[in-house]
């Protein structure tokens, strides 16, 4: 078998000979997904905690909706953002379609329900344990929120990583709203699709291995940080 057909060899060549083109694709992938996860977390962590702490009419419906949206097909999210950001759409005047910003918006929509729904679950479990003690200390529900989020941090790190996994792995949404423009909106997953379409399966799989390696490294880093902290704080 010629070495060019071996995806592992291809992946190794890609990593070792990381050229400017691949580097910018990898970097953009990380940037888009990290930004999306950061923005989604800033919105979803408080919402998830609020859902865990307060009882209000429509709460159960909201929880069911969030759980269902965890399975939102990326293509559908992409299509909605496309129609929103298109010149003919309501937010057309900002000219965001086919930019990395559009990709971040689409991924925020994909990641938000995952982080919100799982945060609700984690915080609710912790609230069951802490509620009486915190009330006894005189904390209102609102003031409990940061305490519960902080004390659930190890579980929430896994939740955020799940969101990051969804963001970095999806292709349907970024393909539609980013347009897979070379040097502008081309990321790892859209590159993989492109190379597959060209029949360049070894390169496609090689890129896949590079992506997986990156995601593994990020997860390993997060795991290491959390284990170290856990050992210190129990």
């Amino acid at each position: 078998m010629p070495s060019g057909d071996n995806p592992f060899y291809t992946a190794l060549t890609l990593i070792l000979g990381m050229d400017q083109g691949l580097f910018s694709v990898v970097l953009l992938s990380l940037k888009v997904s990290l930004f999306a996860v950061i923005i989604a977390s800033l919105l979803a962590l408080p919402l998830g905690a609020a859902l865990a702490l307060w009882r209000f009419p429509g709460r159960n419906a909201l929880i069911v909706l969030l759980n269902a949206l965890m399975g939102l097909p990326p293509v559908v999210a992409g299509l909605c953002v496309y129609l929103l950001l298109s010149r003919a759409g309501p937010l057309g005047q900002f000219g965001l379609l086919f930019t990395p910003t559009a990709m971040v918006i689409a991924q925020v929509i994909l990641v938000f329900p995952i982080i919100a729904a799982l945060t609700r679950q984690q915080v609710e479990a912790l609230h069951g344990e802490y509620a009486e003690q915190l009330s006894s200390l005189g904390l209102s529900q609102l003031r409990m929120m940061p305490t519960l989020l902080w004390d659930a941090r190890f579980g929430l790190l896994t939740v955020i990583l799940a969101g990051f996994g969804r963001a970095s792995a999806e292709v349907g949404a970024v393909m539609i709203v980013g347009g897979n423009i070379d040097g502008v909106t081309r990321v790892m997953t859209t590159s993989i699709v492109l190379e597959t379409n060209k029949g360049n399966l070894a390169l496609a799989l090689g890129l896949g291995i590079v992506l997986l390696t990156l995601v593994t490294l990020i997860n390993a880093l997060a795991h290491w940080v959390s284990e170290t902290a856990k050992r210190r704080l129990g």
Partner: protein, 245 residues
């Protein structure tokens, strides 16, 4: 079925406001867990709430502390509600170091930031926990954890301290430490309201006893009177160590 307030309880003067229960009851999902109860917690003594499991001891304490609202009736302080703290059967500690658990409580009570650490270290020293300051609170032993919750309560300088079976999962040495701490609070002017099902502990600590059975407060009398001449047959059986249901 509420015992009349004894003259003894009325007699004790205290600057801690009294807590009054007026026909307070509690129901949960159609079950009456506390029958309408009229009670007065006043003075600065150590009140031990006793009775078999399921009598409603913990429930009464949570109602008094304000963690639960009565289904009917009134629970009110005569005057400005005092500073209160509660120690639970299973210590609830945050996922931080022992020291940070204490500074957290001070932060909640809005103690200025620069004072927190000094105060927290003093409390740790008082409860013999100085060497554990930097240890994660949740890996401490059961006894150490309960001492830490007492140190946290101490920092709040409560006028009333509620303790819900604080020693039920501890070994004798740890039990002794908790009882010493309770007396320390009391000597410092804190009213103690504590549940236990340990008769020996009650004999050691109680100034007065509130005996509960099946959601009813059967008697509320000075400790001597309770142990020597219980008014209700259920209390008599309980003191003799018989199973009461």
């Amino acid at each position: 079925m509420n015992a009349p307030l004894s003259p003894y309880l009325r007699a004790v003067a205290s600057n801690v406001p009294a807590l009054r229960l007026e026909q307070a009851s509690f129901e949960h999902r159609g079950h009456r867990l506390l029958s309408p109860t009229t009670l007065l917690f006043s003075g600065c003594q150590r009140t031990l709430i006793m009775g078999p499991n399921g009598a409603g001891k913990s429930l009464l304490m949570r109602l008094a502390h304000g963690l639960l609202r009565p289904s009917s009736g009134q629970i009110s302080w005569e005057g400005k509600p005092p500073v209160q703290a509660m120690v639970f059967q299973r210590p609830v500690l945050l996922r931080r170091t022992a020291l940070d658990n204490l500074t957290y409580a001070l932060a909640v009570r809005r103690v200025p930031r620069h004072q927190r650490k000094t105060l927290a270290l003093q409390a740790l020293e008082k409860f013999g926990l100085t060497s554990l300051a930097k240890r994660p609170a949740r890996v401490l032993s059961g006894g150490e954890q309960q001492r830490l919750t007492l140190a946290r309560a101490w920092l709040l300088n409560p006028a009333v301290l509620f303790l819900d079976e604080p020693t039920s999962a501890l070994d004798p040495a740890a039990i002794k430490a908790v009882e010493d701490a309770v007396n320390e609070f009391h000597q410092n002017g804190t009213r103690i309201i504590m549940t236990t099902h340990d008769l020996h502990q009650a004999r050691r600590l109680a100034d007065d006893v509130l005996f509960m059975h099946n959601g009813h407060v059967l008697e509320h009398t000075p400790a001597q009177q309770f142990f020597n001449a219980p008014a209700s047959p259920q209390a008599g059986a309980f003191i003799r160590g018989e199973l009461v249901w």
